[in-house]
């Protein structure tokens, strides 16, 4: 089975080598909405701790994650909620 969540997680691990990473499929909360599909796997939440985010503002951090996941975002993934922090920062996941 083609698991979008696993592919997303693989990509993020490869690109960012995160200290911590959590990818949650919350498509069920959006069932029936615009962009949702019967099989789910369209809406994800990512919590990631990686050195790449140090010194970057919110917009730059999100862009880094969006760019890494660009292929999936142009296809299967409809919405991606991102919480990206650098190691040692307060408010980490």
């Amino acid at each position: 089975m083609d698991d979008v969540r696993d592919r997303l997680e693989d990509i993020l691990r490869r690109v960012f080598r995160p200290e911590r990473l959590e990818v949650v499929d919350f498509s069920a909360a959006h069932a029936g909405h615009d962009g949702a599909r019967p099989g789910g796997q369209t809406h994800f939440r990512v919590e990631i701790v990686a050195a790449a985010f140090a010194g970057q503002n919110r917009l730059a951090r999100q862009r880094l994650v969006m760019e890494a996941a660009a292929e999936l975002l142009h296809g299967e993934i409809h919405a991606l909620t991102v919480r990206a922090v650098a190691p040692g920062e307060s408010g980490g996941p």
């Binding site: 909360a29 959006h30 909405h33 615009d34 962009g35 919110r58 917009l59 999100q62 862009r63 969006m66 660009a70 975002l73 142009h74 409809h78 919405a79 991606l80 909620t81 991102v82 919480r83």
Partner: protein
């Protein structure tokens, strides 16, 4: 010659201080993420111009390319791309959104 979609977006973000590209309308948002941004702006009493991308497939695709940002909603302030729902929500919760708007001359009538 007719205006290209990028020219149209450029004109839209120049003609209003706060511009939100969203799914649905402020009164009837069609997506939870769009609704969340509307809620934050309304809570702060920030006047904004909304553009419904669901009414306009060209705008829906065009704004993604224009901002190099793959999802809707998208918020612009004084012609500058601020971000999507996560960023607006985080800025609001961190108490950064009001000063961000105030620095750009946007009147916030209700403080969080």
């Amino acid at each position: 010659m007719s205006e290209t979609i990028h020219e149209r977006i450029q004109r839209q973000i120049a003609s209003d201080d706060v511009v939100l590209y969203m799914k649905g309308t402020p009164v009837m948002p069609m997506c939870g993420f769009s609704a969340a941004v509307v809620q934050v702006l309304s809570h702060l009493g920030v006047p904004f111009q909304a553009h419904n991308v669901l009414d306009d497939p060209e705008l829906r695709q065009g704004i993604k390319e224009f901002s190099s940002w793959p999802t809707i909603p998208q918020l612009y302030v004084k012609g500058e791309f601020v971000g999507g729902c996560d960023i607006v929500r985080e800025m609001f919760q961190a108490g950064e959104l009001v000063p961000f708007l105030a620095e750009r001359g946007i009147v916030v009538t209700e403080r969080a």
